[in-house]
Point group: C2
């Protein structure tokens, strides 16, 4: 069974729950973007994903990418699908019209990439970095570079890579050794990069590499890194000496070539200021992190769809209270696993789509204060989305596999592929542990929790303390705020503490936000008890998911007590 | 890096913590088995595992088993290693001397299989069912069948299978359709079985299949199943019509052929009474479940070894409080993941080795009451071991993968293989959800929790309520007993409830027992703060693992409240 986009679910969150069209229409560039147009784009996107991309899911895994003497061949059908994708204008959905894009809101791109990831994670890696590369070049590239490359990247005619990691420099980019020496109007780049998704392939006629490297006089550490653009083919048509040495054998994601790339005095041009490469790259990484969160939601939806369909078909044993053998969907252990994933998917969509809207608000809102609060949302929520939803894609995907019993472990049903593919999303674009440190150590502690507190305060305003579920959300928000304050105080005395509890803190924030998201869903959804579409996941949320919040508090308080035995 | 048995750790649990040698020497058959002999056997086993089995781990995954027109070829080296294994007397370690076995305690076999699973899960599947088949045939086979097959199975010269599952009958064996019709001194068996580990291979010269089937006049459902023995080659040397139709493509465990087996009027003989096949098979399944729990411990140890070695080698970023880049083992997020797995491994060994000892006590102790309490231990603890430790092998294995960052996702380091291999153990021999139902619905609720309460009471006697960690164990035991009683009462009113909370109940019992196991480890281990071997996992247990106990209570209480809004 191939993945099928379920646009009703997505539309419900976008429109009924988040009122997205009205919010976007208030922004000058999107004055013409009404609910009808948004729905039309989603429907076309859904058709494209279902007909062109989803059917390539298994061949991407089974045939995978082939490597032969530096040449990488994508799985059968991948190039054709990619050509149709960029020629259909999909990569440029949210790029500016002056760059050849369609100038539509980011949230439409978010929906597209969620569906693409659900349909075919491996294929989706190819265009996954495009938008980040576009933003990076748009904001940091010289006019000359932009003239040559921005349009090609905006339309997706050429694909882009992000060349950061080196064998000895994984999470720690300060250790990067690749060198760039000035020559002519550009630089000669030399060094070896690993884990380069799409470093080499036959999907497009050229590949644009964005490479972190050091200038000759650069200081050591992360503040000595500069960013360079180095294309596979130079403007004169000659091949730049950028060699794919091998592709990795991986647990999954076989549809995406993970390359070891050697730059042998390759010609490149500086993007942005010297020694400010990380700064330019962060534009790209933030976009990428948001995309990875969407991958998590998409992969979980794909896993849920398969498991749910199977559970509605397979009969085994008598469910309690039934007579004769039952559909396995009727067994409590199975219902629970399925509904739990739905609660994460639906709540994740609320947070992810809102993040996409806030991205546009941060850029285009007339009011500076509102732009700032949008920026705050993106900064705080992105690591939470990336970490908690990729965690859930893998672990919840594994629960979906469990629904199949032994059949889940064999290739036939395709569920084990999703679990293998999903595992990488907990690692790339900053491991989930690094996301947790990003949230707590870099974004919450420095201002004593003020920004997070302000974000929660905004959400609080629409909550009604008289409704039990909403009162519980208020209580969780209060607990998170208290924790942030306590951790800030304790941090002054023992800086190590935050690193021990960063994961728990991120989980607590994720659960608090998930609980909030569901109050929005419940407020906007039919609660007819006969229609379990929204009530069943709401029950799962309350019964099986949210109890983890108190556990995280208990863990963090236990650690606070180690610092202040009396106070915590 | 191949897996290396760490006998010091195992010895510490067996001797210092559990005082196993003295307990076993009190049983008549093991009067001569002293600590020296036990240690000697373990050392030899460790050498064999390290030199013969561990080096075949990767080839088993990469080359896998090959299928060609009904013939299955094991990966290179597998047959040779298996021949050395049985000729070395390893399968018969705990078989009775009168059957050609060595008459040693079951716990030595447990240690052997834990190490084998750690070294090479795929290869270990082959002999994994031998001991169960031996016990099944010994207790239920006719003298004639035993004369022909028991010795071959005891020594492992011939391997055995367990043919239960059919395409439409997975967890629900009552749906089995395979037929057996009387003919001559035996039966003709016809039907198709799936998921048959080692259904066909070239490791041994014959394969002995134990097959669930229905006699012509058998009632429907599970009480109409009989057990038959059908060998690949009949006593006259002719081939029995038992055909391997294909082997499955799986997520992992490629070293073990998972076969679809067709019985085409195959000759078989009844094992045990007609229509009592499940009864005979359960002997085998209980042994198998205990083995799967040991697989969980072994796989987690293998994953931990790899991750720990990597973390002691790889430098990335500055750990809090350090200067310059640090070993990743020094980063709190990494330490926490590693120490958490160790707490599960060490505590799991206490419970698993004790279960093995109780198995022998149940058979050989002079006192009937003691035999009964041993039987109770095995009955209650086996599903907990199977479920909680296979869960941990996969999820904790995934945390070990995370320690490697991007390198964990590629094949090179071997950690992703362990995660893929481990996933199946949550499914086979009864899914983990079925273990949870077995524990709560079949074993705890029927007597109102009396047996579980008696088991916990025995453990309580050695605990000191003045010591904080032990007082916490007592508290958890009390909470489990209360829950069992409350659930028994609520069950009378709403039988469905238990099925909703069975997983949480099993987790609560697992955590309560894990906490107890660690009080035993702490009482027997050096607590010098300089030696972190036992103190670091003890901290992880308290700080990161045991808080889940309260969460499980909260979840179960939430469900109890749905039945009795006031009482819970």
């Amino acid at each position: 069974m191939d993945f099928q986009p379920r646009l009703d679910d997505i539309q419900h969150i976008l429109t009924a729950v988040l009122d997205t069209p009205a919010q976007l229409q208030a922004l000058p560039p999107f004055a013409e973007v009404d609910a009808d147009l948004m729905q039309q784009v989603q429907e076309e996107a859904g058709k494209f994903v279902a007909s062109e991309i989803a059917p390539l899911q298994r061949i991407g895994d089974e045939t995978g990418c082939r490597f032969d003497a530096g040449v990488v061949t994508a799985p059968p059908g991948f190039r054709q699908a990619y050509q149709a994708f960029w020629q259909g204008g999909w990569p440029s959905l949210a790029c500016a019209t002056e760059d050849g894009g369609q100038g539509l809101p980011a949230v439409l791109e978010a929906v597209l990439y969620e569906m693409l990831s659900a349909a075919n994670h491996g294929w989706t890696m190819a265009p996954g970095l495009l938008h980040g590369a576009y933003e990076c070049l748009k904001h940091h590239g010289s006019e000359e570079l932009k003239a040559r490359y921005l349009g090609k990247i905006a339309t997706g005619e050429w694909l882009a890579t992000m060349c950061l990691t080196e064998p000895h420099a994984g999470s720690d980019l300060g250790l990067v050794r690749t060198k760039a020496t000035p020559q002519g109007d550009g630089y000669r780049v030399s060094g070896t990069k690993i884990f380069i998704s799409g470093g080499e392939h036959d999907l497009t006629d050229n590949i644009v590499h964005l490479v972190l490297a050091r200038l000759p006089d650069a200081p050591a550490g992360p503040k000595g890194l500069s960013l360079f653009l180095a294309p596979k083919f130079l403007p004169d048509g000659s091949r730049n000496p950028i060699v794919c040495e091998r592709i990795e054998e991986k647990m999954g994601l076989h549809g995406s070539p993970t390359c070891v790339m050697r730059f042998d005095d390759a010609t490149g041009w500086l993007v942005g200021e010297p020694n400010r490469g990380l700064n330019a790259m962060f534009v790209m990484m933030n976009a990428a992190r948001m995309h990875v969160g969407l991958q998590g939601i998409g992969l979980l939806e794909a896993a849920w769809q398969k498991a749910s369909a199977y559970a509605q078909e397979r009969r085994q044993m008598r469910a309690p209270g039934a007579s004769g053998t039952s559909l396995i969907a009727e067994h409590p252990a199975i219902q629970r696993m399925l509904d739990t994933q739905r609660a994460w998917i639906d709540g994740g969509r609320v947070l992810a789509y809102r993040t996409a809207v806030e991205l546009d608000i941060a850029k285009h809102h007339a009011d500076a204060t509102r732009r700032e609060s949008a920026q705050r949302w993106c900064s705080l929520v992105t690591p939470v989305l990336k970490s908690a939803w990729t965690h859930q894609a893998f672990h919840g995907g594994s629960e979906c596999l469990q629904v199949f019993g032994g059949h889940g472990y064999v290739r036939e049903w395709g569920i084990e592929q999703i679990v293998r593919d999903a595992r990488v999303a907990m690692i790339y674009e900053g491991t989930n542990e690094i996301q947790a440190i990003d949230l707590l150590v870099r974004k919450v502690l420095p201002d004593g929790g003020a920004a997070l507190s302000a974000l929660l305060q905004e959400l609080t305003e629409a909550l009604d303390a008289q409704q039990p579920a909403q009162a519980a959300v208020l209580q969780r928000f209060g607990a998170v705020r208290d924790l942030a304050a306590q951790l800030s105080r304790a941090n002054a005395q023992q800086a190590e503490l935050a690193y021990w509890v960063a994961d728990d803190f991120l989980r607590a924030v994720a659960l608090a936000l998930l609980g909030w998201a569901w109050t929005r869903i419940e407020a906007a959804s039919p609660v007819d008890t006969a229609a379990t579409r929204w009530t069943a996941p709401a029950r799962a949320l309350k019964d099986w998911i949210l109890p983890e919040f108190d556990m995280r508090l208990q863990i963090i308080r236990g650690q606070l007590e180690r610092v202040h035995p009396a106070q915590a």
